[in-house]
Amino acid sequence: MDEILEVLMDDARISPEEIAKLTGKSVDSVKKAIKKYEKEGVIVKYKTVLNPDLVRDSKSFVRALIEVSVSPQKDVGFDYIAERIYSFPEVTSCYLVSGAYDLLVVVEGDDIRTVSDFIAAKLSPMEQVRSTTTHFLLQKYKEDGQILKKRAKAKRLNISY
């Protein structure tokens, strides 16, 4: 992978000037590369990873992972039904997977009621949806490669040969 992307994946707010210093490329070529990646859709967006437990006055919200079995359709396969599902704003992620079911759908809402209403009123009634199994998320330990629990930092000596 391009080193520029490696650096950005770890810190989306780092400036092109700093990336240039780290990668040994010129500021101009870094800027150009980033523009290109944005245009091509390699870089989709820049977002901030929060630990919701620590956000003051954050509204509580619930998240559910829903296993969805569907009947694929001629010509369009799973894409058509997937699009109908992921177009709902309640759906934060949607994956086609191998195994016992077809789509893994992640849904978020303000409370259990909102999420279960979405499943009962919108998802399940779809013609191609054969069955759903819903798992409500109880505790987040790690997300996007980040461990959310604060851990004691292992200490090195401040000076050594």
């Binding site: 080193e3 490696e6 650096v7 210093k21 780290l22 990668t23 040994g24 292992a154 090195r156 000596l157 401040n158 000076i159 050594s160 040969y161």
Partner: protein, 389 residues
């Protein structure tokens, strides 16, 4: 009671004037440290997990003196695969408690009183003292920033003569990060063969070579009989606290080293050895990730230090830069002490690595990018208190 006396040999060892400075650093809080000689990464989880699992399984015994046979086979296999080296895991490989032990065994197994040992300057702090403890006499070979802190073949040639038995080599180097290309090593090898030298080659930073492929000295034609190859897991896999290294060399030398090892150390910790096996089996992805980080930090540090007025060369490996502080007019200890007191930045005075290195300091970039930036800003403030760098 009359005070029990100390061994003359130990008494004669150069006292570390640096000790007091180290104590000062260790006693101070909120220090931004560029003084650390070990990775800032924690050992990758799969390796730690293997160590834990081995304890759960009840592996709490001694191992064979030379180390777990399985680990020695893995080391042999790895060295052949990576560098084309052929070492017999039964007779030519010894697992040691860190490279430090390997170094000590190497000189004790080979030196006789009066033998001279060539030691580059600057160099890692142990080489001189272990050679002296083993009865050797140290001859220093000075290097400096103008030749990128590298020994030249001519320098070695000129120093060779009666009683010169061994050369200590360390590349990529702690404290300078300097390393040698294959071509440069070939020229050194020619001199080594001509004068029938033994080379104790500490290559523990081999995985952290950035601009070219690392070449073990022992891989060059006709060199196997001249080299004790030392390596370990500390730097590449961020396993300093596990204390696992290994020595490879001619069968009779490894046998002699094993003799000392069995009386003084018995064996390295079994759990650490099992963790090391896991590192060789599955750890190289982590090595690559860490190396990528170091490589970027190196670019940043060299650029930033030169920018704020501390001249430094681009090191080829390890995680150190060795900038000149001659522009400040201060000795390296004064510079380090004042910087610590005024800006709370810790680094190691160059003089720790040789008398001739008082014009330099060692900066370790095994720290997060954020702390490197903070440290550079503070050093800049120290250098130019009234500017706004």
């Amino acid at each position: 009671m009359k005070k029990i006396s100390i061994s003359k040999k130990v008494e004669k060892l150069a006292p570390s004037g640096i000790r007091a400075f180290f104590d000062l650093v260790l006693g101070m809080k909120d220090v931004v440290s560029l003084g650390v000689g070990e990775p800032d990464f924690v050992t990758p989880w799969h390796i730690r997990e293997k160590a834990i699992f081995s304890l759960e399984q009840g592996f709490t015994s001694y191992t064979s003196n030379k180390g777990l046979p399985e680990l020695r086979r893995q080391i042999a296999h790895f060295l052949e695969h990576r560098y084309g080296l052929r070492y017999d895991p039964e007779e030519e490989i010894l697992v040691t408690v860190g490279v430090s032990e390997g170094l000590d065994l190497a000189v004790r197994a080979t030196l006789n009183p009066g033998d001279k040992v060539l030691v580059p300057e600057p160099s890692y702090v142990s080489y001189g003292p272990v050679a002296e403890l083993a009865g050797g006499t140290v001859v220093t070979l000075k290097t400096d920033i103008t030749n990128g802190f590298k020994l030249t073949p001519k320098q070695i040639e000129d120093a060779c003569g009666k009683d010169v038995k061994a050369l200590m080599l360390n590349y990529p180097s702690n404290p300078t990060g300097a390393s040698y290309t294959k071509k440069e090593l070939q020229a050194i090898a020619t001199v080594v063969k001509k004068h029938n030298l033994l080379v104790v080659s500490d290559e523990v930073y081999d995985e952290l070579t950035y601009d070219f492929d690392h070449t073990p000295l022992t891989s060059l034609a006709g060199m196997k009989g001249h080299v004790i190859y030392l390596n370990g897991f500390s730097k590449a896999f961020a396993m300093t606290g596990f204390r696992i290294g290994y020595a490879c060399g001619p069968q009779h030398i490894i046998a002699a080293m094993t003799k000392i090892h069995q009386y003084t150390m018995l064996c390295a910790s079994i759990n650490a050895q099992m963790a090391a096996g896991e590192a060789l089996k599955n750890g190289f992805k982590s090595v690559q990730a860490m190396k990528g980080e170091y490589k970027r930090r190196r670019r940043y540090m060299v650029g930033a230090l030169n920018h704020i007025g501390l001249k430094c060369h681009m090191p080829e490996g390890a995680f150190y830069v060795f900038p000149s502080i001659q522009s400040t007019g201060e000795s390296s200890i004064d510079f380090a002490q004042n910087l610590l007191k005024k800006q709370k930045v810790a680094l190691v005075p160059g003089v720790a690595f040789g008398k001739s290195c008082d014009g330099y300091v060692r900066i370790s970039y095994a720290s997060s990018y954020e702390s490197l930036k903070e440290a550079v800003a503070r050093i800049a403030k120290y250098l130019r208190p009234h500017s706004y760098v």
